[in-house]
Symmetry: C2
DNA sequence: TAGTGGTCTAGACCACTGC
DNA sequence: CAGTGGTCTAGACCACTAA
């Protein structure tokens, strides 16, 4: 236990972190300005800025330019693995899973879609069996909780499966995309998911309101039909500080 | 495309990142010193330091004090979910799973154990049904790849189950800890895993050689027996940049 | 001892915001 | 306009490492 004033940007960061967790600065509140903090702790502003940077990287606070530094507002969100989502809600009900989870937390869920034919990302081309840069259908879903962006999911589907089908429409009907793929004889039979933590892409950083130093939590799901052909690659991006991934299963 | 010299710490960071990915600085190599980089880019050293900080937070480089800044040596490691590990290797073969994965990558796996009775961490006490601070058995396993620390896993087991049993020994015999719990009539029947990204604790930071700003990827697995009693809480900590989590399953 | 990064001072100018 | 954070200069002193 130290009663001395905090020295060094780490101690200043720890002091601010404790104050936030204690509730001195509730969610949505502004921290004192950096000049004020600098005077309070007897250091120069770059030192305070460095301390605040730690809290930003943790996702504890977020800067609004020209306004100030604000305490994070949303609680931590939980995402059940897709495998669990299917067990609980039946195939293809990702939309419902997001809605349900947000409602559990007392949050308002909202999402919108952007659908376009785009050049296939290089790291997905091999999986989808197309040339890098070849056009594929991209279905991007942007999800919000209390109107705060929290998740960005982009599905890539080969054009020979998607073109001229309802997969090019915003509403894919009952059972969603996977039910339509099943109708076409390409029911997903095997899924893989890979979770990574990495710096956000520019798209992810802007949409998820991340700093350049804040990590994105990413999930790549690959769906293959019974023949082993990959029919969908789904790239999901989350703010790492904002989410928890959950799984649950029985022994054997 | 810009041919101008990089300006600002972000561009300098991007330049260095590109040089590393291009192989100009191979794994294990030292970057030029910060004074050298400052002169090269026509900025002061704090600016270079800030650029290098970005690369450190990404896990791309690591500082050795008094020596220099070194490019990360290990490739990205993969961890199958425990559920998958069980499917593949049978119950309780986590040790084998780590060994096998490292061998696949051509790395040498090693691990050691620390076993002790410790006060139960506050956030595990409720799950284990003990008072906060009450003693529980802690089995900590530290894992290395090519002698580089890569994973720290700590199991907490209630003392009334563990005391006087082989669970207090380093070697728990064939089938491992879960087989012994089964012998005692407390076979794990239901597992939950929760994945979080957060700043490392001091213990994690030191063991995993993380900077204070680098995130840890953590997994908390809870094992309950058939009666629903929690018989183990396992906290796993990984360097977030170093690992990929993988899962795989069949539809329905 | 010389070289490394860790950290700080005491300024400064800038873009952006809300009034 | 004043206030916010973003970023930089031009130094400085420190602890640590390797020789």
């Amino acid at each position: 236990m130290t009663l001395d004033p905090p020295t060094g940007y780490r101690e200043i960061a720890a002091t601010l972190r404790a104050a936030i967790e204690r509730g001195d600065y509730p969610p949505g509140a502004l921290l004192p300005s950096e000049p004020q903090l600098a005077q309070r702790y007897g250091v120069t502003r770059p030192v305070v800025n460095r301390a605040v940077l730690m809290l930003r990287n943790e996702g504890l606070v977020r800067v609004e330019r020209g306004v100030g530094t604000r305490v994070r507002e949303l609680p931590v969100l939980t995402r059940q693995t897709r495998r669990r989502q299917q067990q609980i809600t039946g195939t293809g009900a990702a939309r419902g899973a997001f809605q349900a989870e947000m409602e559990t937390l007392g949050l308002t869920a909202r999402s919108d879609n952007v659908i376009a034919e785009v050049p296939c990302p290089a790291d997905a081309a091999g999986l989808l069996g197309v040339e890098p840069g070849e056009l594929v259908l991209a279905r991007q879903r942007r999800m919000y909780a209390n109107d705060i962006p929290v998740q960005l999911a982009t599905s890539y589907i080969p054009l020979d499966l998607a073109r001229g089908t309802v997969l090019e429409q915003a509403d894919t009907g009952p059972g969603g995309m996977y039910a339509r793929l099943a109708d076409m004889g390409h029911a997903p039979a095997r899924f893989t998911e890979r979770v990574r933590v990495r710096p956000p892409t520019d798209t992810e950083r802007v949409f998820l309101r991340l700093d350049a130093d804040q990590p994105a939590l990413t999930i790549r799901r690959v769906a293959a039909d019974a023949t082993g052909r990959v029919v969908e690659v789904n790239d999901i991006a989350l703010a790492a500080h904002q989410w928890e991934l959950a799984d649950e299963w029985d022994a054997n």
